[in-house]
Subunit: 241 residues, 2 copies
């Protein structure tokens, strides 16, 4: 049986004593029924993975004592995922999958054909934490606030390639073939179900360092496109090689 | 606005009159509120996509008249997806995504560490139909009955390559690199959350025409692995090229 994994904010290292917040204490001692001396695996996104033992267990509090390092810190390549928010379950899904597949940052963006006007950033960040706990990773991508696409492009960092997954390309021969995708630092942008507007397409064309990514013959739902695009990039230009 | 798409069993062609079953009539006339003369797009998995008009609209019945062909039949490459059933929502998700990404056949398999002992084949087939309606495709993959992995391997068709996505390879340097995946006819097998048993691994090793597929550094959930594996295969050996 594999150990329960828990993300904490506290520094981790030999001899570190890590206090639990009430939700973590409830999870470890109420839900998972761990007792004194039980082992868990901790990570904080900076110090790798650590085995720790329950040193104090209360209803709403507890302490864990770090014992040995179980794994080195492993950060994913410098890839951002930009996506137009979808319905709740599918937005959660995108965040969960982007965490598993190794995105460095997850940026909800508002495009012209995006209906969402706000997101629950804290809830999406919690989804990323939970996904990192489940997938054995030591890194949690940052989920940023919802930002308008035109603003994001206006401030775009020089040197960061932008790959646009454009459903209008499905079934056409146009666009960058997978197999020669730009290296990190990079970002990929998944449009909303309604696709991009003509003005947005023109804005992409006018920028340097933008490539269109074609994802096959069939039209993919936005969340499928996100997973497929991350997979292709990781296999081709990321750390799956 | 794009047309409502509907999968039917009836042959499609110029002048064909297509009768609706009660569920389809309810969907078109009750839910989507289509009236006489309204257009829909039909496909049956064999005759391509056809524009049709409502010629009779009742509460539990209706007729559609085929007008013009809107697209040729497009079958995906001969790729099967074999996967160990997960919890309900995640199993539905795998079927939906495999349809979008272009699998020819979807085969739930029972491995040693699979808990599921039965599936609702009819419900999963309906999920595949709905996914095909949504993604603009003209093909619906067949969802087969749950079968034991050892039986499936005993009857394995000669000449069909088997790619095994093995989570035990995450973080190791072993296994076939993406980029040189076997062509069609092929199948990919996604294991259960608990991975494959030693006996199963030995059985893979003993067969010709089996390759292991490594999906990156991190451990992917089974449904993520299914989407990632299908994507890599389509981009490398399928019809995304």
């Amino acid at each position: 049986m594999s150990l329960v994994r828990l993300h904490v904010e506290h520094p981790l290292g030999e001899g570190q004593i890590v206090p639990l917040d009430p939700a973590q204490a409830h999870y470890l001692f109420g839900v998972m029924r761990l007792g004194m001396g039980a082992e868990v695996e901790l990570f904080n996104g900076r110090d790798g993975a650590w085995r720790a033992q329950v040193a104090e267990a209360g209803k709403k509090r507890g302490l864990l004592a770090c014992r040995t390092q179980a794994g080195l810190q492993q950060d994913p390549p410098d890839l951002w995922l930009l996506f137009a928010p979808l319905k709740k379950a599918r937005t959660d899904f995108v965040v969960e999958k982007a965490t598993e597949l190794g995105a460095r940052r997850i940026c909800p963006v508002q495009t012209e054909f995006t209906n969402a006007e706000r997101i629950r950033r804290d809830r999406l960040q919690a989804t990323a934490v939970e996904a990192a706990e489940q997938c054995g990773g030591t890194f949690v991508p940052e989920v940023t606030e919802l930002v308008r696409l035109d603003r994001l492009l206006a401030d775009w960092p020089e040197g960061r390639a932008l790959l646009v997954a454009d459903e209008a390309l499905a079934g056409t021969g146009k666009a960058a073939p997978a197999g020669r995708l730009p290296r990190a630092p990079a970002a990929m942008l998944i449009g909303p179900e309604g696709g991009f507007s003509e003005a947005e397409r023109a804005r992409f064309d006018a920028r340097p360092n933008v490539a269109r990514l074609r994802l096959g013959q069939r039209i993919l739902r936005a969340e499928t496109a996100a997973v497929a695009a991350l997979t292709l990039w990781q296999a081709d230009a990321g750390d799956w090689g």
